[in-house]
């Protein structure tokens, strides 16, 4: 077994975020090794979603840099997009399309095969709902369908915004199992969550610690 510091895979240096001219957090550092998991904690408005969007490359950081294998993600945004899954707090599903069509669309957009979609539907217990239009699915089922994108096509980095919202205990176990299988294969996970997510050996980053100090 190799000992010592974990290999730096995905890291951020001195990150700052500005929303509407106001500083939300600054001086934030993190680093994740192979199979690493990072939980973002903090009260509403502390910048969890902003940080996730930054890590996805949707918004550039106001200060600092984000690195993948030592090179800044802003150098090759296309390569960064190809290696990540971003599941935002919205489910990105079309009510008029069936569950299978919705999932198959996202799989094909990432260059995958439709077959991957069927297996992913089954593993999130949506096999019986595959041909239902999404407008008839419950909130929890829609969330499960959004999460099924994670395993329907492969990506190294999973960025999850409140992934457990609306999930029942069984679905939560499926999600945790999917995450640990992903980490065993060397993938990384960053999740913003309110409810504590039971991930083994996950680092916790409390965003409130990086809020700018108010002048006394």
């Amino acid at each position: 077994m190799r000992r010592g510091l974990p290999q730096k895979f995905f890291s951020g240096q001195d990150l700052a975020c500005r929303r509407g001219g106001r500083l939300v957090f600054r001086g934030l550092n993190f680093s994740l090794g192979r199979g690493g998991a990072l939980l973002l904690a903090g009260p509403n408005g502390s910048g969890k979603t902003s940080l996730l969007r930054m890590l996805a490359g949707l918004t550039p950081p106001a200060e600092g840099q984000i690195f993948w294998h030592g090179s800044s993600i802003s150098l090759d945004p296309a390569a960064h997009r190809a290696r990540l899954h971003f599941i935002g707090h919205q489910d990105a599903l079309k009510p008029a399309l069936t569950a299978r069509e919705n999932l198959a669309f996202w799989v094909e957009m990432r260059g995958g095969k439709r077959r991957g979609a069927d297996a992913a539907l089954k593993s999130f217990r949506l096999g019986a709902r595959a041909d239902w239009p999404c407008r008839y699915l419950s909130a929890g089922e829609r969330r499960r369908l959004a999460l099924a994108r994670l395993i329907a096509s492969k990506a190294w980095l999973w960025l999850l915004d409140e992934p457990a919202t609306g999930l029942d205990t069984q679905a939560l176990e499926h999600l945790l199992a999917a995450i640990s299988a992903h980490r065993r294969q060397g993938g990384c996970v960053v999740a913003a969550t309110h409810a504590p997510l039971a991930l083994a050996e996950a680092a916790v980053l409390s965003l409130a610690d990086f809020a700018p100090r108010r002048a006394a």
Binding site: A56, T59, R81, A92, K94, L97, E108, G111
Partner: protein
């Protein structure tokens, strides 16, 4: 190109399943044209003289009608955020959405235009050039419209703003579209006008996807 086809296919499926956006657009086009004989009277000479202009103005307004939803619904349900992160370049995604929009609106307009032309006593000698002009002109409407739709994303009352932004840009299409449609019935050659429409289409194909993609990226930040 698999992803490109998937996006076109999805947008077409949505257009045909959600109560038929295309049917609304075609119905609006037909109604707007049919209003004119009631408004200006049934004299065949008068109707024939204004027919090309009426057809094109009505087509412009009908195309505008469905533009607001082009990116709006994707933006509202989080799909746009996910699309921006897909490997397919955003410029090509914008092009795919324009293609789907044209297939669902511009093409039906082109198909029913000759029928409505008959209602307006349009000279049948110009029918071929009318259809050709519509085939070349309506994709330009979708492409320019996509830039406007992307720029007004998230704006309140985006629909009105979109019309103000896009309609002036539609004027060249209107001028050459009408000229091409009228030329043949007046005994002139339609070819130069059709070539100018083709040039407009090529320019829009080259520029609009980039402009729309830049506006979409801006909307995502």
């Amino acid at each position: 190109m698999n992803a490109f086809a998937a996006l076109v296919g999805r947008d077409l499926k949505l257009a045909f399943r959600q109560g038929g956006d295309w049917a609304n657009v075609a119905a609006f086009f037909a109604l707007a044209v049919i209003l004119f004989p009631f408004g200006v009277g049934p004299e065949p000479e008068l109707l024939a003289r204004i027919s090309a202009g009426v057809l094109w103005v009505a087509a412009l307004l009908a195309a505008l009608l469905s533009l607001e939803r082009l990116f709006q619904s994707d933006w509202e349900d989080g799909s746009l955020e996910a699309l921006v992160l897909m490997p397919l370049p955003l410029e090509l995604q914008a092009l795919a959405k324009c293609l789907a929009h044209w297939l669902a609106t511009g093409l039906p307009l082109t198909v029913i235009a000759p029928l409505l032309a008959l209602v307006l006593h349009f000279n049948s000698a110009g029918m071929v050039s009318l259809v050709l002009a519509m085939l070349l002109g309506t994709p330009v409407l979708s492409l320019i419209g996509a830039v406007g739709a992307a720029l007004t994303l998230g704006a309140r009352r985006g629909g009105v703003l979109l019309s103000l932004l896009v309609l002036p840009l539609y004027i060249p299409v209107l001028i050459f579209g009408v000229a091409a449609s009228e030329a043949a019935s007046m005994g002139f050659a339609a070819r130069p006008h059709l070539l100018l429409l083709a040039a407009l289409l090529l320019a829009a194909l080259a520029l609009a996807p980039w402009a729309a993609a830049a506006a979409l990226r801006q909307a995502m930040e």
